[in-house]
Subunit: 759 residues, 2 copies
Amino acid sequence: MRLHWRAANYLALGQIFLRGNPLMREALTLDHLKDEVFSCWGTIPGINLIYTHLNRLIKQRSLQMMLVVGPGHGCAALIGNAYLDGSYSRLDPPFKQGRDSIERLFCRFGYQTFAHDVPAIPGTIQSGYELGYSLAHAVGAVFDNKDLIACCIIGDGEAETATLSASWHLPAYLNPLTDGAVLPVVHLNQYKIAARSSLSYLSNARLTSLFTGLGYKPYIVEGADPELVHMLLAGAMDQAADDIEAIRREASDREVKVRSLCPIILLKTPKGWTGPKLISGEPFEGSATALKLQRLFMADVDFYLKLLERWLHSYTIKSLFDSAGHLLPEPAAWIPEEKLTLSGCPHANGGLLREELKLPPLEEYGVETDADREDPASERHLPLAFYLREIIALNGLNFRLFSSDCNNSALFLAPIFSITQRVSPTDEIDRERLDEKPARVVEILSQTVCQALLEGYLLSGRHGLYICSEQHSNLVVSMLGRYANWISRAAEIDWRKEVSSFNYLQISTLWSPKLAQASCTPGFAAAAIEQRSGVTNLFFPADAGTLLAVTENCLKATNCINSIVVDAHSQDGWLTVGQGRKHAAAGLSIWSWAGSEKEEKEKVESASGPDLVLCSVGAIPTREMLQAVKILRGILPQLSIRVVNVVWLNKLQSPEFHPAGLEADRFDQIFPPDVPAVFAYHGYLTEIYTVLGERLEGRRLKVKGYRGCYADSSLQNHLIANELDRFHLALAALDLIDRNDGQLASAKDSIKSLMIEGF
Amino acid sequence: MRLHWRAANYLALGQIFLRGNPLMREALTLDHLKDEVFSCWGTIPGINLIYTHLNRLIKQRSLQMMLVVGPGHGCAALIGNAYLDGSYSRLDPPFKQGRDSIERLFCRFGYQTFAHDVPAIPGTIQSGYELGYSLAHAVGAVFDNKDLIACCIIGDGEAETATLSASWHLPAYLNPLTDGAVLPVVHLNQYKIAARSSLSYLSNARLTSLFTGLGYKPYIVEGADPELVHMLLAGAMDQAADDIEAIRREASDREVKVRSLCPIILLKTPKGWTGPKLISGEPFEGSATALKLQRLFMADVDFYLKLLERWLHSYTIKSLFDSAGHLLPEPAAWIPEEKLTLSGCPHANGGLLREELKLPPLEEYGVETDADREDPASERHLPLAFYLREIIALNGLNFRLFSSDCNNSALFLAPIFSITQRVSPTDEIDRERLDEKPARVVEILSQTVCQALLEGYLLSGRHGLYICSEQHSNLVVSMLGRYANWISRAAEIDWRKEVSSFNYLQISTLWSPKLAQASCTPGFAAAAIEQRSGVTNLFFPADAGTLLAVTENCLKATNCINSIVVDAHSQDGWLTVGQGRKHAAAGLSIWSWAGSEKEEKEKVESASGPDLVLCSVGAIPTREMLQAVKILRGILPQLSIRVVNVVWLNKLQSPEFHPAGLEADRFDQIFPPDVPAVFAYHGYLTEIYTVLGERLEGRRLKVKGYRGCYADSSLQNHLIANELDRFHLALAALDLIDRNDGQLASAKDSIKSLMIEGF
């Protein structure tokens, strides 16, 4: 194991500094060095050490393990280990061990493999750079994966982040009857890059107290001497594995009512471990990063070369690789068979294991159109909630709902709780209750924790929905961007199989009663539109049929991120499920039944368009827009109005910005350039400008949306304050008609007096 | 104290349900009830109980205390207590105790006082709805306020959030020599609205272990019987106050090297305490919220009225108020003198205490223009860093820097660390080190914690800067929105005095080397632009002089939020400090020295504009744009080019969207509608469309910005990939010229061949 660790350390250090002389058989010269240093050393020896010891555990006990690495700058360790495991062939096929491969490995690092190539590293589901999500990713991956153990390395910096701090409680949400286990390894070296970390000043007694309080059984492994640490860590790993086995055993023993505590290893080693102790009198190991070396390089090249040479040789290269660069049998002794290696873990390439979601036929949840309903406002939301209930019933351990907002989900989801329940944080094993109602809803009052859990769940091959409120979805803006990056880059890697889409169901919207109005702040949709990877889609179904169809599409989709805004106060029935399906597929349609164009098809293709285009996006704007059309048609029956409904917002974008965007000629067919148009949009006004972008040029149009105006008590007043009500929409349409006659003026007056009368 | 608590509970319950019969001297009828229930009861009795007990502590020990209330739905408790304290006059002046005032208090709740009126509640610095920021707000408020104790109430739900979970470590960042103290009271009732909370399943032994590990001295107060809880809580409060006194004493004893632990009270009472035990056989107290009552109302009005009547009378109203509605002496006995009341806490109206920041004259940090500099690229950033250093030196305990990103701040801020240091989390009191270098930099690896700390610091009357990296600033999008709401609403309340602006200094930008490119995700600027309150400003200074001037302006400003993007790799010297000041004040200027218009003034005002307008926003785009102008002038010397530089992005918005926005006629003067224009923008391309919005209509323009394209290794390649380099900008300009002649075509060819040659 000593040798394996040295081999991993050597390969990592080589990646950072070398571009030649891969086996160090020659004296080190400047020609062997890279021009730039792309990583630092701080966390690498720790990751390698844990990797080595996990290998032994896996091999000895035939465990299926996954490794989630929290600390940034750890790529070189993971890539080096993938080399040792043999999974490196995925990174750079074809691949054959030996001197040339090591040289290639070294040369590629920082150029071909780095940074935005993280999905290219086999065995990982965790992108770097923004810290805090590792433990939630690990827990998400072991949900409903009884045989999987996810080891999660958490550094000082990561432990200081908000999301990770909230994640300490997550093992209490694991059910030993159906879920796997996590093994957190907190790798403490006192620093977060340059400053002291929040955990750094706690004594071992306090750390023990803290993690015991959090529900863990802590094992502290501390030292700077590798021999000692190897011994202590091996012991701690064995005990932790025993603990996890005990938890599994208890699960199958119906007498056991309280599960054992989750093990956690606190590994305290020096920062920059195994590096030079001192450089020019300044401490290196225990305080700093490899980047310091590059500064030294400027000052004294000879000294630098000698130091680096000594450091590289300290790993006793000849005991690791033969002269052809093949790994010797001793360091390879504990490497598991390929399918059990950490870098080969199939759960980290979830698409491999993914089973299709079973979806009930939508028609059973079909909504009557308004015409055949007695009370069009009745049974709001129920079709979707019943549909979700059936999906839960059909899919066993393959589907979960995640939600941070208990109150809203309680109202919205009420029907599903007849067959399922929320996952409770507990150390009791309540077999009866869980048999009766499997817990498929994870509710944790942290949006970022929920997002990371679902990411982990999807990336390990399952299906899910994130039910959030539009009021608070901007809490995950940065994670949305990061996940979009991951998804789009992973899609380019052929051995990564497709994973289910990440679906947001946004309820409790901007237009909800006063609670929402006061607490809404912008950000989510704007950031989603700004994503340039084209994997992010925004849906605003205007009625229950379209909502069902959109939800079905999103649940079937892979490798993308979808947001569906569901207005809890409006589930109109404009379309049948069948019509909704067509509409959802098109993304936007001309609703000829609502407009006053005589022959739609002809008009679209002919040069002469309608007098006006009225376009709506979202349930409430659509309801108001259709009323506006009624008003206009009542007052000015001769007006030729085209009604367009947009359900897939990105359709309005230029194809340059989103692959779903309509081509210019198709866009111009639907929105003829010389015909004035009114847009009524569910979200913040500025977003629709962003979406239309250059398409605004040279057009006469008026855009209405949420302007951040608050109004008390009623939706109507709120709509009026934001000028998105039927009257303002009708007036906006007339304002665009460039004609100065008495009829128009009197039409405006009629609308104004209607407005005073109210809805 | 029993009576004070009852009075507070009665006033809160009255606010929720009553609009008449304020002293319950008549039998309760439907006419006395509000049509809607605006709050729930879950957390109110607990807040009131803590308030009552803090009153006693304050009065007995003459303490200056502030109360920060985490749980949502607590407004009715705070407003009721403000009534009892006498501070209610601020909410509804003029004010005189008595029956009518109580009726008015009840009637206003949910209508005049609620939700977005939170800044109207005296004594608070904490807006509701998005949980998690209370403890960081409290710690921010006691930084550099040695005599202040902030009691912070944290509920089950809040304790589950990410930011609060990370905040548990914050007391370790308090320095007893100069900072005040916090007293967290964790109010546990097992539930977060509808589901079990993460802390709910922990035994008292585990809770004790957890909080001991986190560095606290925990006191558990548990019970459902009010008498018992009063007794236990009084004891715990006394012990906590003793602990805080001990910490203060130790601070003045130079022999003491380790401070005592921070006290924390864990208060476990039933949810909905003092409410009906059962309603129709279903438990109410201990499980649910007052909203349940409203559902009951639908079912059985008589039962509902009787139940509510019994509940209201359970507070023994006649022992609280006389027949005229005046508070009787007994419940009033422990209310402190007005200036010490929690609702009258001057620190919660920080503008009252705010002292102006001392700013050194900018000219001392003046930057030479490029012309008189030997190496224009030298001394990057140093002027601003030295300026900040001097501000730290001048302002003692009145100014702090907050930063989540140690690495970046370390490089950028290096010069300041000769006189200051980072605040270390510790329980040691290192007097010598702190005497030598006062710790004025708070670095915690959580963006949301840093944001909340600075909010608390500013709202309690001090000054500060948040140094973040543009790569990660989208982590605080939701908090930005919430703080903007607070600031804009607080500005409308006349007793709230102006507080210093919240200033973001965004370093390590989209255009930083590859590390940044791979980790950038959009969101911050888009969300800032979407804020409709007009208090959010985005600055993109293009050179060092303008940067200094903008920083000065932002530090002087009050009641707003400013973001300054500082590109770490570009500190050009286009303007002197004096010119920078003028430019910063104008927000955007025509740089006639860079353009080729002959007589700027004449042109602006005459109908005939230039042939082209080239406009840049941000340091790197400006550098490229000026090079593009050089190229164009070299190739087509007869072209009349206007160069516009924008430092204050919001100037480009319509005044309807931002108060700084240019009026249409002024905008048309600078950007004549018939003159094609190229915009080169620092940030995401979509943002500039959002900013220009309707102004795009009918114009010929080309917008270049960050398109999310990654390129390896160099800024130049990165610029080219995003088409923001000098050559693409020059070509974009020529593309806009609607002329089909050979000269133009050959000009394009020359530029293309220049591009191939490279920079």
